[in-house]
Symmetry: C2
Subunit: 516 residues, 2 copies
């Protein structure tokens, strides 16, 4: 890589020399694009070490949203970081974790781009990670690189940084500030005012975001809301995304004997709560993921023709993904992944009932517990989802309660399940062919030299419906993370080629969106 720094840097953000030559021969907009590409390339070449150290520093701060001191520390760091680029910011809260709201005006600009990202992360189980989740580790394949040494080299786009929130979702703030630095250093002007809303509680369902949006709707007024979160398409191609699935969590507790029993002395007399919980959960969907809960699908909007056309235009990645993930089968009965995520999903993400292997103890437990993550599509409502799931449990013979059941309830019912709902928001999908969508498509096509994919929805969830409800502007998602970033899991990572590529893309949006 040391021998070819320029080539490495160019390929990092998806440019080929042929394209560069082609764009030089184009019209004025192409010249502006070329100037911007050169500015970004130059900035990365000159300041790659700083990009690395900024990202490392931000990722070193634990950011599980339930720890308010941790979130405040992250917020303070980010406020300083964006303040150095001329952003006025305020850290606000509505009883939850902090949000950062910020703005930077561009003299003469009449349009404003509002950018969303979040700086909290999913809980971690450090024992599962190869390297500690809050000690960012730089790797080239399996090889760990020394940070100090790496910072003196050109960045190889295949290098990855491993840390919680590397992929989801601390990269946008780093990439955006370096886009601004690149433009400032080269004397290139943005065409828009820039506003930010940085969320400190997204991984917990952004419970207070509605209040934040209501209180600060005027401050946040803009012409487009760019949601910077989520992974790029599995093909590695850039995509604009026009929707997200909704999400609600539910914790289930199924009860066994009031005290743990010896599995020899009581095993096949006293029922294991694990057995009943397994059987109950298995009734909720079939092996293809088709939901079997009566009434659950009543509110699902059929997939439109425009959405079907857009999906058909996306290169298929099923076979490649199935191979890369060593999956012997997939759900969906032959449908491509982009179609399966247009439907709701019931994910049994947690099942805890006694230890295994060395921690197995020969007992019949008092409780078996599971956590479900329900992904919703338009126009499923939270109330309907809750009602149909609880009715399903009742139909399966269970006494359903939202509270800890009394001993009397346990004695008098053959099965008792506690249902504890958490968070929850509906899905969002917008027009694939709106004005802002078309403008962003044109900007990315010009900058990348090829049309981005237009995806009707991410499989993942963001509380976008609230932004749609509270703010009057079109909403488009612009993901930057590599698809295999292990978001939410162990060994979460960011491919550095994606981080560097995002600098150019953000710069292009800032330069072009305000122009006619």
């Amino acid at each position: 890589m040391l021998n070819h720094p320029t080539f490495a840097t160019l390929s990092a953000f998806g440019l080929s020399s042929a394209l560069l030559v082609a764009s030089i021969q184009s019209h004025g907009a192409a010249e502006d694009t070329q100037q911007l590409q050169a500015a970004v390339t130059g900035h990365i070449a000159a300041h790659g070490g700083t990009i690395l150290s900024d990202f490392r520093e931000l990722l070193s701060m634990p950011n599980v949203s339930t720890s308010l001191p941790d979130m405040q520390k992250n917020a303070a760091w980010i406020a300083d970081y964006i303040g150095e680029r001329g952003f006025n910011s305020k850290t606000v809260s509505a009883g939850g974790a902090p949000y950062i709201l910020a703005e930077r005006s561009t003299p003469g600009a009449t349009k404003t781009v509002l950018i969303y990202a979040h700086f909290d992360g999913q809980p971690v189980e450090p024992a599962d990670w190869k390297t500690p989740p809050f000690e960012p580790t730089l790797k080239n394949g399996e090889n760990t690189l020394d940070w100090e040494t790496a910072q003196k080299q050109s960045i190889d786009p295949e290098w990855r940084v491993y840390a919680r929130s590397a992929g989801d979702d601390k990269a946008p703030v780093i990439a955006l500030m370096h886009a601004i630095d690149a433009m400032d250093d080269a004397g290139l002007d943005a065409s828009v005012n820039i506003k930010l809303i940085l969320d400190g509680e997204e991984e917990f369902g952004s419970p207070t975001v509605e209040q934040i949006l209501k209180e600060h709707a005027d401050y946040l007024s803009a012409d487009v809301l760019l949601f910077c979160d989520g992974p790029m398409h599995q093909s590695g191609l850039r995509q604009l995304v026009f929707g997200v699935r909704g999400d609600i969590g539910v914790n289930l507790t199924l009860y066994g004997p009031s005290r743990p029993l010896h599995s020899g002395h009581y095993g096949n007399w006293a029922p294991h709560p694990t057995d009943a919980l397994m059987r109950l959960l298995a009734t909720m969907k079939d092996m293809d993921g088709n939901i079997q809960v009566a009434g659950y699908l009543d509110q699902v909007t059929p997939i439109s023709e425009a959405e079907q056309v857009a999906i058909a235009a996306i290169p298929s990645v099923d076979a490649q993904l199935q191979d890369a993930l060593s999956l012997g089968r997939v759900e969906g009965a032959g449908e491509r992944i982009e179609m399966t995520i247009m439907r709701p999903a019931i994910n049994i993400v947690g099942f805890q009932a006694g230890g295994v292997d060395d921690q197995a103890r020969n007992i019949i437990l008092s409780k078996a517990r599971a956590s479900l993550d329900l992904r919703l599509v338009p126009v499923q409502t939270i109330d309907h989802v809750k009602q149909t799931i609880e009715a399903h449990f009742k139909n399966q013979g269970f006494y359903v309660t939202n509270n800890e059941p009394s001993e009397e309830i346990l004695r008098n019912n053959p099965g008792v399940i506690k249902v504890d709902w958490t968070g929850g928001y509906p899905a969002y999908r917008s027009d694939l062919n709106g004005e802002a969508a078309n403008k962003l498509t044109a900007i990315l096509t010009e900058y990348d030299g090829k049309t981005p994919l237009l995806s009707p929805t991410l499989g993942g969830s963001l509380p976008i419906h609230l932004f749609d409800q509270e703010l009057d502007m079109p909403i488009v998602l612009l993901p930057i993370a590599n698809h295999d970033n292990n978001q939410h899991g162990r060994d979460e990572n960011m491919r550095l080629g994606n981080l560097l590529s995002a600098i150019g893309v953000y710069a292009a949006v800032l330069q072009e969106f305000g122009r006619d």
Copy 2:
């Protein structure tokens, strides 16, 4: 209790004053019994504080069998403790945890009683316990008592000591040594030589006990083997037990995608391994605990008429137990508990697949894991159990392996399960009406004033088949722990009335078994 020390102490080991009067009016054996009862009562009254402090000290030592230093520390303590009562002992091992073998001769005795107990305990999850598992806690109901103060009082039989192995199985060595102290102090002779085998790895299936027995068969020769382990009947009545279920553990790993996936982006395309594991486990038995694995029951011996008669003579505890355990239903389709444990059981004791509640993460896991505890009955063999279970998994469409599967195997099979067998030994049942059985029944009837229950089997497991195979003597189980001792679970405990009662029962066996 301070007002009625004598009454409290008497009731502690099941004596009523009426019985005491009755036995005074009986023949010579009755006079010996009365003398022995007085000696035991006197010993407990004079040395109750020492009994408590001995038990506390032994329970303070962590004893999970996988920690050899811990087990050596326990063994050294016990060797000293029994040495003070004139036992010659040796601590031996066959590559596993230590065993203590010991003997104390009685001049003129021609018969020998061999006593088995174990001093290791199940693994602990301290967070689940109300009080630390290796800081023994003395309680009266919910009230914690001060040890120093309690040691100066008469022991209330309803007091309980909470600690790992309080009920399973550190009490016998304490009770037996105090039985010997009581007899020695009163000048009462044992009628038998006493031998001990104290097992340091029972909770892990006593993997080396066969080798130990082979190497030391001569040293261990005796006329009866008394297995001192397990709980008393749920009625609280004393019982002699003539069998145990066999046991084998198996750890199962079912595979998902090769890396964890975001449950939004991939949920209903990539299958959760949890879903498949739940469905597979649910095929192994029905809701009544009836095993559905083809061929699994082929080797099961029908319950004999003598066993049916013995069970019918036991007072039924089902309704009382179901109420005490707040169970809204039980398995067995109406059969009493003593009958259900005559059949094999499949216990799903551990299921671990992702966190729940605050630890829930929205991912599709790479692995879901479960641990099963299979309880066996005569004459199921370990090989047959393994073969039929693995064949069942294959019949359910799985690729079954005993090793970590390659990526190629994962890619080429719709379901892959790793099956990791641990330990394993068959069940044991002996004659309910043998000579030693009849003698022990008579001794307990005389001492307690009522006939003990005769139970064909414990639901629990002990490697008794190996003792039967290697040693030439009848084997009878004499449990002392309260049935609700939370054996293997959190808050394991010993009711002190049971500990004190055991002192008398052991003393009666030592005094009477060698007599004609």
